[in-house]
Amino acid sequence: MADFDAIVIGSGMSGGWSAKELAERGLKVLVLERGNEILPERDYSDQIPPWERPNLDRVAQDEIAQHYPKQYGGVAYAIKETTKRFWVKDDEHPYAEAPGTSYDWLRGYHTGGRSIMWSRQTYRLGPQDFTANKLDGHGVDWPVRYDDLVPWYEHVEKFAGIAGSEEGLPQLPDSVFQPAFALTCAEQEFKTRVESAFPGRNVIPARVAHLTQATAEQRALGRSNCQARNVCHHGCVYKAYFSSLNATLPAAERTGNYTIVHNAIVRSIEYDAAAQRVIGVRIIDAQTNETRFYSSRLIFLNASTNASAMILLQSKSTAFPDGLANSSDQVGRNLMDHVSGAGASGLIGGFDNKTVFGRRPGGIYIPRYANITEHDKPYIRGFGYQGSATPLGNAGGQIPGIGRKFKESHRAPGPWRISIGAFGEHLPNPDNRVTLHPTRRDKWGNPVALFNVRYGENERIMLEEARKDAVAMLEAAGCTQINSSPVTLTKPGNRIHEMGSARMGRDPTTSVLNGWCQAHDVPNLFITDGSFMTSSACQNPSLTYMAFTVRAVNYAVDLLAEGRL
């Protein structure tokens, strides 16, 4: 008799969904979280006003150098004195990079994982994203098509709550929306001018996982509408943005079928060669160093793309000497992210007598048009832009003058500034990989990750073109003082959209998972974090993780009920 029906490894974006759906289907579920417990009432800092945050909410520079050199280098905008608890200390959680490469592994270990700190941009993949590999030969073909996923997108969108506008764009299908955060007047003008100058390009409100018209189901979980404070990286006592902590884990808990254990660092997933099944998870307690074993009939691996690959690679056995479910040798390979580092900004005139009220969580989005509506590109795939046009404000003090006039100038909204930046697709490449470092161990004795990830020529050419396109659109919109720095590609990992380390595919010899996120080699093992992604597309991927997760759970529980696991 197993301890639990199912073990979910990781409580973040996808792990929360696994826990909720499994528990709601009646399974006794154990969630293993390697980090500490986060209690919103104790650990969120969104209610602390600016004047109560010490030192302008800056983390001491010596502390950054000692504990957060990688994390802060990657996401300085999010790591504040009152939010640093949500980010790992690099010296406690080190990783290595292959010579000549650099990688940002930006993360937090606690209840809810990075779903607490994400930036909440939420888009479906489009039909073209599931056929791209097949058509241009990069990677392997997805074993799933867009239509397979539609009901599952709808399922998660209704529960999570997505603010957005119906646009009818085939390459960026509409979600089940709550009302969008409307475009500013400058954004509306930009939209009009860009869409006129570039037919086939669209400027739309960013789609974000924020409640703007909370449903009864969402209110029952204590969630309410976004208050337009834009303090999301501190947590949200209104539970207005979607996170595991705000939504899926409480939903799992109310079933009575849910248990979570914190500080549980996975040492290995145990495999029974005779049964050809995984039978449980061996963990080490992060605080006591005690080792424990939990058994289950089913395992959902949701530790995050890099960590899940490492767990598989650590879980060696006679049957799987190169790591669990790794007969294809694809575990840890094809590691992808999105690539940024190209864009433009400028001033957009005509709105001196206008301002905004509130601080919305998103801005504008320009969906992919390259190789969708425009086919003259020197690269394959494409990119979308995120951005905004808002009053610049004067809070930085970088305007001329002193005295009363200078002081009171800060009451004015200032000129309107528009900025757009590209998020491009990263082609799958088996040489881009995470492996176990051959000698280095962390403080708990687990191998540290070794990253070897590079961008290719397609990404470089694409981002150069994205910069030119950005300037052209700002020029077409009549912007002035346009600034567009030379392209400097973000480090792999920096967009925090890691994907692909256990890709799904039709062929067990070239992929780790089948179309149900089920390991080809191990029928009762499912992986539904970003690991399964066969290509990266260019849209922010969390919504797709959610949809694949609920689809996989439904499939797995059906199999279990039918005695086929």
């Binding site: 030192n55 302008l56 800056r58 007047c185 337009a228 003090g397 002193i402 009363r404």
Partner: protein
């Protein structure tokens, strides 16, 4: 025992805040007579006087509190003591020394009107460009950010709203 910030707060109050500074002008003398060196954390007497004078001239008391009313110099002293690493601290010391030279020996002790004219001239040059003025612009930014991060600066001067409750994307300025 008072914290350094409390001591500095008292210091600023003891010299009467913005109105006293702009009225009597002699900041360094007031500070030197009212406090001992042990009261200061990061700044020397001279540095504190310089920062206080610049803060006062940049963001004076009007219908709302000024930079000295909310103790921006003390805030910066704490920032440099608690947040800055040794490199930033040394850079900041050098910046103040350089600024002191640019503004002249009598900037701190000059009348308010004279000091205001001197700073205005520096500010004009700084925004015309020139790498030698980066330090001044940096300090100006720090003073301004610090002021608007205070309760009075945020609420009384800038009418900052903690919880807007709604998003209005296009509001007429009346």
């Amino acid at each position: 025992m008072k914290t350094r910030r409390e001591v500095l707060q008292g210091l600023i109050i003891s010299i009467g805040g913005a109105s006293m500074l702009t009225a009597c002008g002699n900041v360094a003398e007031v500070i030197a007579s009212d406090t001992g060196a042990q009261a200061l954390g990061f700044y020397s007497d001279q540095e504190l006087a310089l920062v206080a004078r610049i803060s006062d001239l940049l963001i004076p008391r009007t219908e709302t509190p000024g930079a000295l009313d909310v103790n921006v110099p003390g805030f910066l002293d704490g920032l440099m003591s608690q947040w800055a690493d040794s490199n930033t601290q040394q850079t900041h010391h050098r910046l103040l020394a350089s600024l002191g030279q640019m503004l002249g020996d009598d900037f701190v002790t000059a009348t308010a009107e004279a000091a205001e004219q001197t700073l205005q001239e520096l500010d004009t040059r700084a925004f015309e460009g020139g790498s030698q003025y980066r330090g001044y612009r940096s300090l100006k930014g720090l003073i301004t950010q610090s002021y608007f991060a205070t309760e009075a600066g945020a609420l009384e001067e800038q009418h900052w709203v903690a919880s807007p409750g709604r998003w209005d994307p296009c509001v007429d300025i009346t």
